[in-house]
Symmetry: C2
Subunit: 417 residues, 2 copies
Amino acid sequence: MEQLTVQELGRRAKAVSAVLASASPKQKNDALAAIAAALEARTDEIVAANKTDLENAVQNKMSQAMQDRLLLNPARISGIADGVRQLIQLEEVVGKVESGVVRPNGLRIQKTRVPLGVIGIIFESRPNVTVDAATLCMKAGNCVILRGGKEAFSSNVCLTEIMRDAVESAGLPRDIIQLVPDTTRESSNQLMKLSQYLDVLIPRGGAGLINAVAENATVPVIKTGVGNCHVFVDDSADLDMAVNIIDNGKTQRPSVCNAIETVLIHRDIAAEFLPKMKARLDAHNITLHGDDAAKALLGECVIPANEDDWANEYLDYQLAVKIVADIDEAMAHIAQYGTNHSECIVTKSLEHAEKFQRGVDAAAVYVNASTRFTDGGEFGFGAEIGISTQKLHARGPMGLMELTSVKYLINGDGQVR
Amino acid sequence: MEQLTVQELGRRAKAVSAVLASASPKQKNDALAAIAAALEARTDEIVAANKTDLENAVQNKMSQAMQDRLLLNPARISGIADGVRQLIQLEEVVGKVESGVVRPNGLRIQKTRVPLGVIGIIFESRPNVTVDAATLCMKAGNCVILRGGKEAFSSNVCLTEIMRDAVESAGLPRDIIQLVPDTTRESSNQLMKLSQYLDVLIPRGGAGLINAVAENATVPVIKTGVGNCHVFVDDSADLDMAVNIIDNGKTQRPSVCNAIETVLIHRDIAAEFLPKMKARLDAHNITLHGDDAAKALLGECVIPANEDDWANEYLDYQLAVKIVADIDEAMAHIAQYGTNHSECIVTKSLEHAEKFQRGVDAAAVYVNASTRFTDGGEFGFGAEIGISTQKLHARGPMGLMELTSVKYLINGDGQVR
C-alpha cells in the first residue's frame, strides 16, 4: 500500500469528486456490482489478510467477542457483497428535485440534491464497515477517505484495494475510495483538521472516539451512535407488552447503540411488574443494577445502582432499574442521563404518550415498541451509515439522503433586482 | 445589565428551551407582536442607547459608511418592528410532519420538525441583527444567545432588554433571548466551546470572524455569508442582458455577500463586450482590475489584476475582469477562487447552461439572472438568518425551516425485533 500523507489523500479525493458527483446512476451501479463480484471472487485474499489481524488479536489477548467481530469468512464476505448489491436497488438521490417555485418575477428556482463531496469516516474494529461505508457514500456520489482501527488494518487494506480495483474496472477513478495507510493517532488528528478537502467527518465507534472527534475536529462532524436508551413503564402499561419490549431491547443484541440500558418503572405497578420482568430477563442472565426501591422489591440479586449506572451505556447483559413517581420524574431522568438517541414509553394513556413524544428530546421517541427499530433498514431507508444523535444536518438513521446536500438552480431571462 | 457568565447564560437558555419548544404558535406570535409593539413604544430609549454607540464611533473615527450601518432612528426602528410583524404571518414549522410511513410490521413512523434548541449567534456591527436574529430563532422555537460587536453594544443591550420584557409580558420566559454582557474575545471563545448547552453556532460577519469560529468552535457551526461571486459571459450570451446582470450584481448593493466580484468573459466576444460593460459601470465609478487580455482591450484605465484580486471579496465599487478561453476555463477559475455562494452564467447555449449548473459547486447557480437574488426574501422564505456556504445541514438562504431539526415519532402496539 502506497504511503500517502493524509493531505495527499484529501487532494486526490477532491480531484476526482466532480467526476463521481456527475457520474450517472448506471455508472455508479456498475461500480457497485463490480465491487460485489470482486469481493466474492477474491475471497481467498480477504481471508488471508484477515488471518493476520486475527493472529494479532490472539497475541494481544483480545476478547472472544472482539475476535468474532473481526472475523471474515466466506459466508460473511458473501453477506457483505450482498449488502453492496442491495444498494444498487435503491433509488438514485443525486439530482432529485426537492422542491421548485416560480417567483413573481419569473425566476424559476429548483432545490436539487447534490453529493456532500468528500466524506471522512473514522471507525473502530469491524472490517465490514470498510465496505458498507465506502459503497453507501459512493452510491450518494461522495468520495470517501476511510481511517479504520489498527485491529483490522490488514483486512481493511485488502478490502480497500479490491474496491479500488473494481471501481477502476467499471470506469470510475479508483481514488473515489481511499484508506489512510496507517493507524497512528497523528493520521487521525490530521483527518480531523482536513477542512481544506473534507466536507464532513463521521466517527463510528464508542463514546471516547466520538467525543475526541467532536472536540478536535475543524471539519464539520456528524456524531453517531452513543445510545443510553430508556424504557419507561407507565402505570397504565400493558405489563406483558412492557416485558417483551424490555426483553427485546436488552437481549436481542446488547452490543448495539439502540439497545436499552435503563428501565424506569412507575411506582404504582412496580411490585407487580418487577418480578415478571426479572423472570424473563433471568433466562438471559441479565445483571440488574437497581435503586433502593427496586432492591427492596427484588432483594439481594440486585446490585445497588449509583450515579454511574444511570449514565452508563453498558452494551452488555446488564440493566439499570429505577422506580419513579410518575411520567414527569421519568422524563426528567431521561433529560438528565439520555444521549438523545432512542427512548420509549409503554402506556395506554393517550395523554402520556403524547406528552412523552413531545417532551423527550431524542432522535427517535417510541410509544409501545422496541427501541431496537432505530435503524436505517427498519425505517425503510435500505441502508444506513450510522445513527445521528445530533440535531444539525441529520438526526436518527442516516441513509443515502442524509449523505447529500442541496444546490439551488435558478433560471431566468435577464432578471435583476 | 446583569454580569452573567457565558456558562450561566447557557444554563438558563437550556432551562427554558423545553418551554419554548412546546409553546403554541399563538404564544410565539403573541410574543412577536409584543416585541414589535415594544420596539416602537420604546423608540426613545433605543435612540438614546444608540447615541452612545454613535458617539463612540465618532471618537474612534469610524468611517461614515460604518456609522450609517450603526444608526438607529425612528424610521429604522419602525422598519425593524415591521420585520418582526412579518414573521407572525409565516407558517408554523415546529410539529410539521415531513413524511410518514407504516412499516410492514405495523409500526407507524413520522418524521416531524422540532426546534434546534439553543442557538448562538456571533455578529458584528449592525444592531438590527439583534432583533432580526432573535425573533427568527424564536419563531422556530429556539432560544438564542446573542454576542454582538462592541461598536453596537449599548444599542444591543437596550434592544435585548426590550425584547426580554416583551416576551415576558406575553407569558414566555424572558431567558429565551439573552445577550452576552460583554464584548471581550474571551466571551466569544467561551461561546464557541459551549457544547454542553448550545446546539449550533451561527457567525454573521466577515471572512475573519467566520473562519475564526470555524477553526475554534467545538459547537457545530453553520458558516454563512462569504461570497466571492462570479458572472461568466459565454460566447453566445445576450450581451445587453450580461451588462444588466453585471451592473446589478456589482452596483445595486456592493457591500453584500451576493454581490459579484469577478467577471469572466469568453475571449471571442470580449472585444465587443468589454467597452459596453465599461460604459455602464463607469456611471458608478467602478474600478476595474483586469488580466493582460482585458487590459489590452480597455487600456490604461484598468488596474493590473493579481492573484489577490481573483480571491478578493471587494464588497466595494471594484470588479475583477478576466478573459477566458471557454466555459471550462471559467468553471476551473470558479472552482479555484469561488466561495461556493452564488455563481452565474449568461448564455444562450442549453448545453453550457446545464454544464455550468451541474458542474459549479455553489449554493446557488444562476443561468441568465443576477446573483443578487440569493436571499431568503427573494427565494420566498419570508425571512432569513443568513446564507449558508457549507454543505452540512443547510445550504443557501436559511429560513425558518433551516432553524429546525427533526424527530422521529414511532407508534406501535408492542412490536419487537
